[in-house]
């Protein structure tokens, strides 16, 4: 029902068509919208759909620029998918919320007690309150974790529940998330964006702030630290940038001020967990894990896991590290447990369960199994283990053959299955294709332990399906998220996430330790970006020359172009390319040039370098300020949109190269201005300097180290100066004389020129000395010696001697030798740096006794 004559007012509540028999959030059970929805929708209506669409796009832009992504497995083309946010939030009144909040707290407390029992005395099993097969037959029950829980007020630190409202208007719990719940960071980012795109409406509607939750999370994590409770070292353990919610891991790490680590960044020694950093091993007190529990320790749990830390569970057992949530807590995600919660609530709390779960029958009991088998058509059937596929099957939608199969599977191992009632969730208004439509929604709520109580995030992550009448709501399936506004009776006071130190107390500045993995990535961010820049500049010079040679048809132009083309092949390492001496290729180089720019599968191409740069930067997402990340994203996205996804010609490529240079300069400038000159910056800049030196040397070797005729020489010299952004400086300094020795003076030896080789080597000397490893050691380290040698050799050379022409030789032998030697030293230097600082790459190997042999 769209009123096309009046497009400005087409999103009012009168156009909202709800479905019969489905509860709608706006209408509840009445025919009139609830007053707070009425007010909100009135404000939207006043804005009109066009404006709202603009706001929606603005929100998408902000999310994209902030790098909010959700990785979709099996989508290698588009590794990161932008996070989608609907501008219409879910509104919940404060009265209703307090009911939900109480229910969530009770449920968290109950699950905590169950966890403690299962990994402790197991009275629930002994007393028959939980069947053995339900607990011991679930893959979330980790035998080695029994008895490993430490003395904490609450063991379940973080809890999350998916809620949906049923037709009767009551909230139901669909499932419990207890192992490493995700989504709180997305909820926070949604809120941040909403306050920017709908600031006035947000202000007028009094909404509870989310920061109370994150403050409690910080405190909750500090509380469980076994040592250093005052100032514990807390890390976030992520599976890495390929994980679906990696953005959130990085986001929470920088928001909460924790170090983001992967399994390889940690090690176990002397019964403690240590962070491997450039400054040595740092003790870790608390791990907020986003790695599934069975993957956390290859020694005692899943031996094939590369995501964990060998020996971690032993450290937990000794009480030297706390993990949130504890290893083994995924047992609580067993959906079969839902059927037993009401009984356990009465047993533990002497209370009825306040938030009901979706009606669930666990087939491990005979009566329940028979019920499920008799009602297969009306139920949703789920396996209790996620590894059996997380697919809920709607019994009614199966063919009779499939149904028979399912039936025999259930009969063979009944304890592995549950049947659940099919619930139709409530709908709520969503802004879809310029109009307001009802969509089914699921709310993910977040709870964190604080002392012996729990704190609930006043809000959450609401998700809707894209299509109408679709009950499968998940981010993997391409759902859309919404902010969740819990209305307050009076405005919330802002809560600062900062902890207040006592008056006049000076806290020691704790420099975050730089993990060797992060150092490695920073180094490569610098290298890939610099390589991209060098190739871009050279390519630009070539395109210029190409145009000139076509225009003036001067043979010297063509010869110079050929020199440059061969240089490009050498600088990019894309042999045989132009080096092969194929006359035809040199005559019509356009296709090869475009391929060197565009082809991501070609090692050395611009696209390949940009992608590598982006991947390295993404792996350490937590390091970049928001502005810096935006510049990273710009470089990658523009190139993707304008070059990779486009059929473009040589002229258009030229413009895009200019753009790319601007993008690179923005990144370089931002990092220069916003990073403290500590290990992280040293690594980034060392990568950059090293690569710039290598690229410049490669350029010089294949241009100026060759002996040319005077006329050609002049052109090549000019091209080299252009390609190194040094022409203006040269002209100012030497006016109109262009001579090889003077160009070399500037590009090779001038330590004040940021594009000279000498400048790069000098900077590397300074950086290496400042790196933490060398402190307090009077001997020069291996990397110091190498770089000092390269630098000194260069300083000792004499450009006039280097450029003595030799009869019948194509190259300046001494000059070429110097360049070759410097390159070799720099390569060695890079290897030594990698060995010394990036040793995390050392792989582990499982040693296991092979088949025991026996006598017959």
């Amino acid at each position: 029902m769209r009123n096309d004559n009046n497009p400005a007012n087409d999103i009012g509540t009168q156009y909202y068509a709800t479905q019969l028999g489905i509860y709608d959030e706006m209408y509840a059970t009445e025919n009139k919208a609830l007053p707070y929805w009425e007010r909100f929708m009135g404000a939207l209506e006043a804005m009109g759909s066009e404006k709202l669409e603009l706001r929606r796009r603005e929100a998408q832009r902000l999310l994209r620029e902030n790098g909010v992504t959700y990785n979709v497995y099996g989508d290698s083309q588009n590794l990161t998918r932008p996070w989608r946010l609907d501008p219409v939030p879910l509104l919940i009144s404060s009265e209703e919320w307090s009911v939900i909040e109480t229910g969530l707290k009770q449920r968290a407390a109950l699950l905590d007690l169950i966890l403690k029992d299962i990994y402790g005395k197991q009275n629930l099993l002994k007393k028959g309150l939980l069947p053995a097969e339900l607990v011991l037959g679930h893959e979330g029950f980790l035998h080695p974790c029994v008895g490993a829980l430490q003395n904490q007020l609450r063991h379940l630190t973080i809890y999350s529940a998916n809620l949906a409202r049923g037709p009767n208007g009551r909230m139901w719990v669909l499932d419990d998330r207890t192992q490493a719940p995700s989504g709180s960071g997305y909820a926070l980012e949604n809120r941040t964006v909403m306050t920017r795109v709908l600031p006035d409406i947000f202000r007028e509607t009094q909404v509870h702030r989310l920061s109370v939750f994150f403050k409690a999370l910080r405190k909750g994590l500090a509380d469980i630290a076994p040592h250093n409770k005052e100032d514990p070292r807390i890390v976030i353990l992520t599976p890495g940038p390929l994980n679906e919610t990696y953005f959130e891991h990085a986001y929470l790490a920088s928001y909460l001020g924790y170090t983001l680590v992967q399994g390889g960044d940690l090690t176990v020694r002397d019964g403690r967990v240590w962070l491997k950093s450039l400054t040595g091993l740092q003790a870790v007190d608390v791990i907020l894990r986003r790695v599934d529990d069975s993957f956390c320790d290859p020694l005692e749990l899943r031996s094939s896991s590369q995501l964990g830390v060998a020996g971690l569970l032993e450290v937990v057992r000794r009480g030297n590290v706390a993990i949130a949530n504890p290893l083994g807590s995924s047992i609580l995600e067993n959906p079969g447990l839902l059927a037993f919660l009401p009984r356990l609530s009465r047993h533990f709390l002497n209370e009825e369960l306040k938030l009901s779960s979706v009606a669930t029958w666990w087939c491990g009991q005979r009566r329940e199994r028979d019920f499920v088998l008799q009602n297969l058509d009306n139920l949703v059937i789920k396996p209790i283990n996620r590894s059996m596929g997380n697919h809920a099957v709607f019994g009614g939608e199966l063919s009779s053959k499939e149904k028979e199969q399912l039936r025999s599977q259930i009969l063979a191992k009944p304890h592995l299955f549950i049947g659940q009632e099919r619930v139709s969730f409530s709908t709520l208004p969503a802004f879809i294709d310029h109009s307001i439509e009802p969509r089914n929604a699921v709310i993910r709520s977040f709870v964190v332990a604080s002392g012996d109580d729990y704190v609930v995030m006043p809000g959450g992550l609401t998700r809707i399906a894209r299509q109408k009448d679709n009950f499968i709501v998940s981010s993997q399936a391409g759902g859309i998220s919404k902010d969740t506004w819990v209305l307050a009776s009076e405005p919330d006071k802002p809560i600062s996430l900062w902890t207040q130190p006592k008056r006049n107390q000076l806290i020691d500045a704790a420099t975050e330790p730089l993990t060797s993995r992060a150092a490695d990535n920073l180094f490569w961010v610098g290298r890939h970006l610099e390589r991209t820049e060098a190739v871009t500049r050279l390519l630009r010079t070539i395109l210029l020359k190409l145009r000139e040679s076509l225009e003036f048809k001067d043979s010297i132009d063509t010869e110079c172009l050929n020199v440059l083309l061969r240089t490009l092949t050498q600088v990019t390492g894309t042999y045989p390319g132009f080096v092969k001496g194929d006359a035809q290729l040199l005559k019509t180089p356009e296709a090869e040039l475009l391929s060197l720019a565009k082809d991501g599968h070609r090692k050395g191409s611009l696209t390949a370098n940009i992608q590598a740069f982006f991947q390295a930067a993404f792996s350490i997402r937590d390091f970049w300020s928001q502005d810096t990340w935006r510049s990273v994203d710009n470089i990658q996205r523009r190139w993707q949109q304008r070059v990779i996804n486009n059929e473009l010609n040589i002229e258009q490529l030229q413009n895009n190269l200019d753009d790319l240079i601007t993008g690179i300069v923005a990144f370089t400038g931002l990092t220069n201005e916003s990073m403290t000159r500590e290990a992280a910056w040293l690594m980034l800049d060392s990568g950059r300097r090293l690569e710039r030196a290598l690229a410049l040397i490669a350029l010089l070797r294949s241009t100026l180290a060759l002996q040319h005729e005077d006329a050609l020489q002049n052109q090549v010299l000019e091209a080299v100066l252009v390609s190194t952004d040094s022409l203006t400086i040269y002209q100012r300094r030497y006016r109109s004389f262009i001579q090889l020795p003077m160009v070399l003076e500037l590009l090779l030896l001038d330590e004040t020129h940021p594009r000279s080789v000498a400048y790069q080597l000098h900077q590397l000397c300074i950086h290496v000395e400042a790196l933490p490893r060398c402190k307090g050691n009077s001997h020069l380290s291996k990397e110091e010696r190498l770089i000092l040698k390269a630098y000194t050799d260069l300083r000792l050379c004499n450009v006039l001697e280097l450029t003595q022409a030799t009869e019948n030789k194509a190259i300046y032998i001494d000059f070429d030798k110097l360049l070759a030697n410097t390159t070799a030293l720099l390569w060695q230097f890079a290897e030594v740096i990698a060995d010394a600082y990036f040793s995390h790459s050392q792989t582990s190997e499982l040693m296991i006794l092979n088949t025991p042999e026996d006598e017959l």
Partner: protein, 311 residues
């Protein structure tokens, strides 16, 4: 019968290992049939971190870490154990049918009654109950034994209606011994049961897993035992030191009797020549020695076991 067992494992690495963490289950556990007088480790290089504990199944576990660079690692466990012979063989005449055992295992535990009603008798029922409760975890799938229809098919002819469970297991053990070829070259730890079943080859570990799978397919509780068996030299030959090996067999729960061991590799009911190290749902629960080494390149491994009868 008293034995001294010396079990050594040698690792050689092609490159230096900077750090390795290990978990060892090489110390014999105590139970009614067996007493371990003493058991000690000799590990080279000396571990910086060494800790003993008891695992979920009651087995003795040792964690140790070597934190200095090394190119070889030798782990030796030396234990002295007494095996008490059975007083009689009445256990083997338990007449409970396998169907009866199955329903006992499936039955829900007794209801907890109010405190005032608790009597000595009830405590006893409770104990029995706990034993059955414990046994139930050995009926369901475990990491290395997944019940598949082929297992039930193979075992069917042993599971005759109303046959005593003891007889069923005897029969099954005999058939495995007869039908399967002992072949150390055929399987590795990763070989799935379905392959062992279709090629009819394997080693003691496979045969134990196979029997366990067959029994569980019929709702019977069965567990995996790791240990050693005493070997006697052929008549007239000198006994060779270190030529023994690790061994594995299985155990079946029979209500009223408890757990009864069977060795399908040798087609015997272990009496006083089997020394038990540990038990669990399958090999994964009782792996004698496993470790994670950082660095090291290629490694080679050799094992020597010596089971010496002392008295």
């Amino acid at each position: 019968m008293k034995y001294r067992i010396t079990h050594s494992t040698f690792y050689h690495y092609s490159q230096s290992v900077g750090l390795c963490q290990n978990e060892v289950k090489l110390q014999p556990r105590n139970f009614w049939r067996q007493h371990c007088h003493n058991s000690r480790f000799d590990i080279k290089p000396t571990p910086m971190d060494f800790r003993e504990r008891t695992d979920f199944f009651g087995n003795r576990v040792t964690y140790f870490a070597i934190q200095q660079p090394h190119t070889q690692l030798i782990v030796t466990a030396i234990s002295e154990v007494t095996i008490f012979p059975r007083e009689n063989n009445l256990d083997l005449f338990n007449q409970l049918t396998w169907e009866q055992v199955r329903s006992l295992l499936q039955g829900t535990p007794l209801q907890i009654q109010s405190q005032s009603e608790q009597s000595q008798n009830q405590v006893q029922i409770q104990d029995n109950n706990l034993e059955i409760l414990d046994a139930r975890q050995y009926v369901i799938d475990s990491p290395m034994v997944t019940i598949i229809p082929e297992l039930a098919d193979y075992a069917r002819s042993s599971f005759l209606p109303n046959r005593a469970l003891v007889d069923v297991v005897h029969d099954l053990m005999g058939r495995i011994h007869k039908d399967f070829t002992y072949d150390p070259t055929f399987t590795t730890i990763a070989t799935p049961l379905s392959e062992v079943l279709s090629f009819r080859r394997g080693v003691c570990q496979d045969f134990a897993h196979l029997a366990i799978g067959c029994l569980r397919a019929y709702g019977i509780a069965a567990r995996y035992i790791s240990g050693y068996v005493e070997t006697l030299p052929e008549p007239g030959k000198q006994r060779l030191t270190g030529a023994d090996a690790s061994h594995a067999w299985f155990s079946v729960y029979i209500p009223g009797t408890g757990w009864l061991d069977f060795d399908p590799t040798n087609n015997t009911v272990p009496l006083d020549q089997h020394i038990t190290l540990a038990w669990g749902r399958d090999y994964a629960d009782v792996t004698p020695l496993k470790g994670i080494a950082f660095g090291g390149g290629q490694h080679t491994l050799s094992v020597s076991v010596d089971v010496l009868r002392l008295e």
